[in-house]
Each structure stands twice: as structure tokens, then as C-alpha cells.
Point group: C2
DNA sequence: GGCAATGACACACATAGGTTAAACAACGGC
DNA sequence: GCCGTTGTTTAACCTATGTGTGTCATTGCC
């Protein structure tokens, strides 16, 4: 994982309970993987003017909405999901601070999923086309946006493997580890534990399992001394190695390293 | 679906058993959704020089390979997949003619899945960075590449819902319909049936099912008069409406319409 | 022609995970 | 303090799907 110090620094700037550090959230997230210039940072921060506050359970947009806005989650947790006619629901992904929503909005006339706040949430909102014009004006930012998209794609592919070919026990272990690794990038407070602000039903909807079976399986993980669940929905990983082994978790797909295209030689190639 | 005539025209150019029409495959695929200029077409065709021929079962690249090439499938079927240590395999997606492989390669140091030919296959290969430089030189092509990426993302999300929340019966129905709709874009010979060059085991690996259960479920679909399976692995949809209802299939996510960003007003906005 | 390999198909049986229901704890409103 | 609401936990039962095994048809090889 890249530049731990940098994350730490950003965190410190935030500890006084303000949602926004001096850096905007996008600049912060991208900044973990790429050293931004002053100019690039202020270009990103310009996206950060219009704020949205949502209460837990509220929807940001619905499946089928025609929207031309892209969002960055600043604070809280959300999820993207689709529901079948009979009520079966599938969560595509959890949305953590720093993540983009409707990233590809400029190319999609309507959304194909719903986005809902799991906790109280704060977002910044800007036009879909801002990403396109910003990318044109600042090629390195364009690469960063493309990289964010590629990373999301990898996450989704891993989700397919998780749901398609892992059993409940492995699925939950894998999901808990993925969330830990992702949170570690933006939030330094979780060395081996974190608050999972999610009911067991929601976890089931993400993993293609029923509430009851999630409960059964969490119980098993606890009984075997692999995890611990405090009150306040705090998850603590007690035996990281064993859990990683069970889940066959390898963090490569998270791409927590510097953005490849921005090495010296590639910048030359691209001109 | 857009410009049926255009697809027909391209098909005619191909019927003499040549893999390449006058238009390169990328220009052809993109051309279905966007009228390309002569200049754009020849820029795309420049990507089309280096050909690769693979026999069925051969791998194009393996999980973990560090490659800096992007590919277009010209002819045949392939699949992208990952295998767990104990042999359980999950296919992320089938790859049809016109699809890109390692689309985001410029942003990913190593691949996270394996790509294998299901039939004999022909591909064109070019540098990952060509997409970036081409996008910079031709903004409309940049939009087209981004649109292709967004579309792939939608397909993968639908795959998550399919595997996570549909049962075997619905899963297979849904997959068969998706393939029909996708093939219809590039190949006009399949009005309501197509050759599915795939064993039942492979279908199971795509849908998170066992071979035996795929077999059972196909039998049921046949017995109920919904589909027909000729020899030569040809699938015929006998009752499209019923199947669409069962699968709760709505083709919006396939985005078989013109590329949104390229409307007059958006082009102005983007400059 | 025989033989090995592959894939479709079928059956019996085992089990992971779904369903239903109910008790219980935590919390906020009043 | 009581009460409704929400989420967790557990138990009992059921079913969709996996596993193991075997047959049969087709194909290609020698």
C-alpha cells in the first residue's frame, strides 16, 4: 500500500470532526496514489462546491432515473443496488468515502441501479461532463479518473467470483477483508477492526444470502475465534492470517498502488 | 436498437468468409452506435494490424500476467474467468466479436483474470496506450472507448444480480436472452436462435452452477417449450415473451442505443 | 474396426442455504 | 416507566442445488 504517511496526514487534518479537510475528498483519494500539483488539486476542489446531505435510508437516485450528475461521497456509507419485482435485492457494492457515484453518467442515459444511504451521508455533486472536460484539460486527472473506473471494475469482478463460487463462510470472510483493506486507505483508525454500519440483512443482500444464514455464518466465524463483534457494530479481525486463508483473499485486485500510467516513461509515450 | 441497416450492411461485407470486413472490427462495433468520419475510421483501423490466431482452449493471457496490450476479438468466442485454488472456476463474461480485452490495461499493472478461447479465435492486438493517445487525438473516439467501458460495467453489474439473486431457472433464461441480444448487434443471422459454442459445464461456470444442475434446468426449459436445442449446439428461443418474463429481462442495461455524449449539445459543452 | 476422450443426460443421495416463526435485546418516543 | 420498532439470535423444517456415479452418443485417432 502506498504512502501511508500521506493518509495519516490527511486524517489528522480531519480529526476535528469537519467533513471536509483542506483537500477535497477526490483530491484526497486520488492523492493517495498520485502526487497532485497545486493546480490539479484546485481543479478537483472546484467540483466540490455543491453539497448534499442525506439521512440514513434515503435514496440518492433510483434505478431508471435520467441524471446528469456525478457525486463523491464525503462522509458515511452508501450502497448501490437493484431489486427484482418480487423484492429480492442485490447490492452491487458498498460505497465508501472518496468513492464516485454515477462515474460513467456521461455515457449512460439512465441509471440502472439505485443508490441508498446506509448511514447519514454527505456528498458533493457536479455535472457528469465536468469529468470529461477536466480530463481533457488535465491529462493526469483524466488518467486518475480512468484508473478509478478500472479499479471499480476490478472490485466488481471480484464480487462476481465471491458470489458465484464461494460459499457463505468464505463469502463473508472475503467481504470483511475487502472492506477492511478499502477503509484502511481512507481511514487510518482501523488497523484490524472497523465499524460496519450495516444490518445482517443488508450484508445478505450484498452477498446473495439470507439474513438467517448470514447470522449463522457470523456466529460460526465468532465461535472459531476469527472475528469479534462488539456492540456498536464494530468488527474486529482476530486472526487475519486464518481469515485470509479461508477467504483466499489476495488484495491485488484492489490496486492499492500508484497509478501506472503516470510513470515517467508512460507520460512521455502519451505525450 | 440503433441502425439495423448499418449492421446488415457490415454483415454483407463479411459473408464471403473473411474475418475482416473493410471496416476494422472496432470501427464496426462502434459504428453501430455512432457515425464515424473517414478519419476516425482509419485511425481505428490502424489498431488493427497485428493479428493473433488462437485454437479453441488456448489462453490469451493468464491471471497475474503483466501485459501492456489491448485486444479486439474479431472472430469466435472467448471467456474471461478466474479459478480458485481448489479448482472452482467463475467466468466473468463471455467475449463476443467486437469486444475489447484488457480494455483498462493502461491502468492495471497485471491482469486479474485469465482469457481463454472457447472456439478457434482471431484477435487484433495493439498497445494499451494507443487507446489513451487515440482518445486524446480524437475526442469522439475517446467518448466511444469510455462508452464501451461503461457498457461493460453495466453488463457485469447485471451478472452480479443474475448470480446473486436469481435461481438457476431464471439465471439460464436470462443468460440466453442476454447473449441473443448482444449477438443481434454484431450478427444478423440470429433472429431468435444462435449457436452457443459452449459446453454445459462452461455455462455452469459462468452462472455459478454445477454441470448437472445446468443440464437439469435446460431440460426443464425444453420440456416447458421455452427453448429448443438442436444438434450443433444451436439454441432456439421458442417463446421469447415467456422467457423474458421468467428471466425478468429488460435490455436497458445493454445500452444498445447511440452514444449519449455525442449529441450536438454535449459536444458543445465538452468543447 | 476398436478405443479413448468428450459431452449430454439421468438418477440417487447429501447438504448448504432458504423459509418461517418466535424470543429477546436495544432504543427512542412519550 | 411502558410500548412500538428495529435488529439479532435461535430452532425446526424444507428445498434448491451440489456430488457421485453411470450410461449413451459422438468424434477423432491409430
Amino acid at each position: 500500500m502506498l504512502s501511508r504517511q500521506k493518509v495519516l496526514k490527511f486524517q489528522k487534518a480531519e480529526t476535528d470532526q469537519k467533513d471536509e479537510s483542506e483537500l477535497g475528498p477526490l483530491a484526497r483519494t486520488i492523492g493517495v496514489f498520485l502526487d497532485l500539483t497545486e493546480e490539479e488539486i484546485s481543479a478537483l476542489d472546484a467540483l466540490n462546491r455543491q453539497k448534499i446531505h442525506l439521512a440514513a435510508q434515503q435514496d440518492l437516485y433510483l434505478e431508471g432515473d435520467a441524471i446528469d450528475r456525478t457525486y463523491v461521497l464525503l462522509h458515511g456509507w452508501m450502497c448501490r443496488h437493484r431489486t427484482l419485482e418480487d423484492g429480492r435485492r442485490q447490492i452491487m457494492s458498498f460505497v465508501l468515502p472518496g468513492d464516485l457515484l454515477n462515474h460513467f453518467g456521461a455515457y449512460q442515459p439512465t441509471t440502472i441501479h439505485t443508490v441508498t444511504a446506509l448511514t447519514d451521508a454527505v456528498l458533493a455533486s457536479f455535472s457528469c461532463h465536468d469529468i470529461v472536460s477536466l480530463s481533457r484539460a488535465y491529462p493526469r486527472l483524466g488518467a486518475a479518473f480512468a484508473w478509478l473506473g478500472a479499479r471499480k471494475y476490478s472490485l466488481l469482478e471480484e464480487h462476481v467470483v465471491r458470489i458465484g463460487r464461494r460459499n457463505a463462510y468464505e463469502r463473508i470472510a472475503h467481504m470483511l477483508l475487502e472492506l477492511l483493506h478499502c477503509l484502511n486507505v481512507v481511514d487510518d483508525s482501523c488497523e484490524d477492526g472497523y465499524e460496519l454500519p450495516v444490518t445482517q440483512e443488508i450484508l445478505g443482500d450484498a452477498l446473495g444470502l439470507s439474513l438467517v444464514h448470514v447470522n449463522r455464518t457470523l456466529r460460526r466465524l465468532r465461535k472459531e475465534g476469527l472475528i469479534q463483534m462488539d456492540s456498536n457494530r464494530r468488527i474486529v479481525i482476530l486472526d487475519m492470517d486464518a481469515l485470509t486463508e479461508i477467504a483466499e483473499f489476495s488484495p491485488d485486485y484492489l490496486q492499492h498502488r500508484s497509478i501506472p500510467i503516470l510513470t515517467e516513461e508512460n507520460l512521455q509515450k502519451v505525450g
